[in-house]
């Protein structure tokens, strides 16, 4: 761990410093949005959104090369796909009377498959695994700016509408009886989730996003008595897992995304076991 510390302060290792800053900054958004996703129990919707992101990335790469739309950055495609997916799965979950899970599962798979087909048809070589499993070590200063802006947006909206989101997650039927448009706030929450996922994809990739979004809040829920406490603990835990994962992956030359997920997943299951065991006693 000492050599990780030296590596971080080494001016030649700018990428590593970026990675640590990115991990810390992103944890703010993950902790807040992850808490809502966990308490509202929409991890499955978040999964569908994250896999649809791949369709958007594929479309952007395809159009960049085939249609000469150089400005159509993969991140733009990802944001677009994520927002469309968020609104779609949100409306499906509200209005589908039956087979809600099948419809959402279809959107999930369709997004992923169309992304791969579009990349197949795009000339050139693309490192798919960096999208699927993340590559925090490729992060640029531009990404840090994006995440900083996202944090500001999420903090601002969530502080302003904290009580609205609280009610949407706890008892949205009662909230609509108070004359408040629950659909609007539910979809807003899903769109914020979508934006968070897009930036998360840089760190842990499409496939592993849901884990980093839901594991820290799940651990936090063991100890938190109130929603804001759960958010605070989630932010701290998420930072801890990301930094520890980065340190371990640097020291042992492992992929950063899977290392972060293995650490946080193992911590969650261990704590779950301990809680279950002591509760039984």
């Amino acid at each position: 761990m000492i050599d990780v510390f030296h590596a971080v302060i080494d001016p030649d290792n700018l990428f590593l410093r970026y990675a640590f800053i990115m991990g810390g900054l992103a944890s703010i958004s993950f902790g807040i949005i992850g808490t809502f996703v966990t308490t509202k129990r929409i991890g499955y919707l978040a999964g569908a959104i994250s896999h649809s992101v791949f369709g958007g990335i594929g479309l952007a790469l395809f159009l960049q090369v085939k249609a000469n739309l150089a400005w159509f950055d993969p991140i733009l495609g990802a944001i677009l796909a994520a927002i469309i997916a968020a609104v779609t799965v949100g409306l499906v979950s509200l209005h589908a009377k039956e087979r809600e899970d099948t419809i959402i599962g279809t959107i999930w798979a369709l997004g992923m498959a169309s992304g791969i087909l579009l990349i197949d048809k795009t000339p050139g070589y693309f490192n798919l695994s960096s999208y699927l499993f993340g590559d925090i070590l490729l992060i640029s200063s531009k990404d840090l700016l994006y995440v900083g802006c996202l944090d500001a947006l999420i903090l601002g909206v969530c502080v302003l509408f904290f009580n609205r989101f609280f009610s949407v997650c706890f008892d949205s039927e009662f909230m609509s009886l108070r004359g408040i448009n629950t659909t609007f706030f539910y979809l807003l929450l899903l769109i914020l989730t979508a934006l968070t996922i897009v930036l998360l994809v840089r760190i842990v990739g499409i496939v592993l996003v849901i884990a980093l979004l839901t594991i820290p809040p799940a651990i936090a829920s063991f100890y938190a008595k109130r929603l804001w406490q759960m958010m605070l603990y989630s932010i701290l835990l998420c930072t801890l897992f990301t930094w520890a994962g980065l340190g371990v992956s640097y020291s042992f030359s492992l992929s950063s995304g899977p290392t972060i997920i293995v650490l946080s997943g193992a911590a969650y299951l261990t704590l779950l076991f301990i809680h279950y065991f002591f509760k039984k006693k």
Partner: protein, 251 residues
Amino acid sequence: MHNSHEIILAKVSFAYKQRRILKDVDLVVKKGEFASIVGPNGGGKTTLLKLILGLIKPDKGKILIFGKAPDKARHNIGYMPQYAHLDMAFPANVMDVVLMGRLARKTLWFSKKDRARALDAIDEVGMSDFVNTGFNELSGGQKQRILIARALCSDPAILLLDEPTANVDHQTEENLFSILKKLNSKMTILLVSHDIGFVSKYVKSVICVNRQVVIHPTTIMNGALIKDIYHGDLKMVRHDHRCAKEGHIND
């Protein structure tokens, strides 16, 4: 429009997936009423409640609450859902839950006045010692009292309760009804009950729902009437006596 009639349903029908749940229902609930909505499962009790709340719209007929459409009258209705519908792992304390009753279109953050009203409502249901307790640490009966406090927070003229007597013991139910009795002096109360054999002595009328709706004063509730609702021969459980080993003692 007579202004002592708070809830009026005229020829209301509602079907779900071709299954007719309510047919040509007429109902008038007067101000100050304390009524229990009873009937078999699937008979349309919850549907009736949701129609009055404006959560669903009737296929036919008209519903007026204080002379207005249900979704326009909502802010005058307090609603207590079944606590079993809520997420028991949700991190919230009693105050967080009760403050939801102060939600309004313009309220983004709760004011001191909102907090004071919430504390009053918690006091009204006798839960002042639990303001900072986690909602999921409470017993079933305590949770229901907190959900009543949440409904009271918006100073409703009508209080609707969905199965407040489900999963609570007799003593808890008694406490609950004595709270409701007190509230009845200020507001009209309608509650859904899964239990027709027992109606609290405080209930003034019984609204029987089984596709059709009939309202009866509690005094004429008898075995023939129950048979009529359930379409079968049933024995009525009497709760107006004391039980002893050697048999029933009437008092």
